[in-house]
């Protein structure tokens, strides 16, 4: 399916809202196996996105994604800033030629892999992005599928990101970046329908 500017705007707005409402949850998850700031980081990004979008309405999908990417790159920092930033920037570039949703999310997942030198099963946000890209490719996405992807990170042992320092002890906790990515794709489901 094609992603329209209108749908994408609703998607990003809903994501921003979810992050702002759940930043404490993200901090708690990150306190367990990271350094406790993922919510604060993402909240800074969410606010920057709102501000950028309120200043100037994007004229097309690519511009929307680029504005969102720049807000994340310039305001989030940490690991999640460059990861979300790279994903969205790569998606923005791709959207100039192709507005197929499944293809775009795959481009985003690939951007994260490149920037993070990582892949699936490392207990990172990729473990949400890649299954979601696959599901979209297969034709549909539901909140249950998003939740399943998120929950799959619980028992994983982290081999990338801060949680990897805990080795085996990283198992038994959800990955915070996967939780924020789950918010992203739950918002997508809201917009495109389950």
């Amino acid at each position: 399916m094609q992603l329209t500017l209108d749908e994408a705007t609703k998607w990003i707005n809903s994501f921003v809202e979810k992050i702002e409402h759940n930043s404490a949850t993200l901090n708690e998850l990150d306190t367990a196996i990271g350094d406790g700031d993922h919510g604060t980081n993402m909240d800074r990004g969410a606010k920057a996105i709102s501000e950028a979008l309120s200043k100037k309405s994007p004229e097309n999908l690519s511009e929307l994604l680029k504005t969102t990417a720049f807000a994340m790159i310039q305001k989030v920092g940490g690991a999640s800033g460059p990861l979300y930033g790279t994903a969205l920037l790569d998606m923005s570039k791709a959207a100039k030629e192709n507005d197929d949703l499944a293809a775009l999310v795959q481009v985003g997942a690939d951007g994260i892999k490149r920037r993070g030198q990582s892949d699936v099963k490392m207990k990172t946000m990729i473990d949400v992005w890649q299954p979601v890209a696959d599901d979209l490719q297969a034709g549909s996405l539901s909140t249950d599928q998003v939740t399943a992807a998120l929950n799959s990170t619980k028992d994983m042992v982290a081999t990338k990101g801060r949680a990897s320092y805990l080795e085996e002890k990283s198992a038994g906790h959800l990955d915070p970046g996967s939780q924020s990515s789950a918010y992203l794709f739950e918002s997508l489901v809201e917009v495109i329908g389950g």
Binding site: T40, N41, A79, L83, T159, Y165
Partner: protein, 330 residues
Amino acid sequence: MKKIINNVENIVPEMVSGLVRSNSDLVEEIPGTTAVVRADAKFASADQVGIVSGGGSGHEPLHAGFVGDGMLSAAVAGEVFTSPTPDQIYEAIKAVDKGKGVLLIVKNYSGDVMNFDMAKEMAEAEDIKIGTVIVDDDISVENSEFTQGKRGVAGTVLVEKILGAAARAGKSLEDLVNLGKSVINNTKTIGIALKAATVPAVGHPGFDLKDDEIEFGIGIHNERGYSVEKIQPSKQLSEELVAKIIDEFDDKTGKFAVLINGMGGTPLMEQYIFANDTFDNLKAKNIDVGYSRVGNMVTSLDMVGISLTIMKVEPQWIDWLNEPATTIAW
């Protein structure tokens, strides 16, 4: 949580502003950022490779406290425990480039590595030569191809001192990258915590330790360590760290540099007692200490704890460590 702050969002800009205002002869803010750059008279005419470091805040005096003649050219402060963003790092790079290129000293955390990497891409697009060294001195974490690798912790300050002195001495960017890699390969650290740090946005310590417990192998962002043990006398704490670290050096001859680093909430008194025991323990292992330093250099907010760094040094490195540097905190 009780902290002397105003509001959590403004911690970093207010801190950087306080630092710059109380040291205006040494550093200034790069406008629109929370990065600081040398402001001393010598800087304008300094014809050397620029050195930029940075990372999340909460490790003060690292890095801004080490900006000055003979050490860093600029330092970029991210949010608390959060890597700074690429645009800020890029501004710092531009502020210090004198045409000889800029060396980035990065602690090995995925966030820092990625953000500095993006900044490097931005600078290279503007034809600025960039070299990067990644400090990964924390031997409490296993190093393998399948993991993030070892963390960058207190040894960073010794790396910054040696590279800063070498850059002042006129070394090229390429030489500095090679020197940096060699220094980092010879730098090993382990930290212990008696109490975890309280991240202001979180409001409580990052993990709990009982009244008689101590955690071995912690990182500088409240990362848990490799084991929780009962509290022991300083002598034994030091013995365990010294043994673990010295074990990692294949060649135990020659000179070594030692850094005993307070994590923020541990008084100098205890750091000196630990230093005294460490000198004894190193002597017992016939380790020849050629340079030593004690103090709060690479902290973790109000964490109560200490880290021990040992570096196998070449004679020239000792000279570089001993050379004066005109910074706030060296």
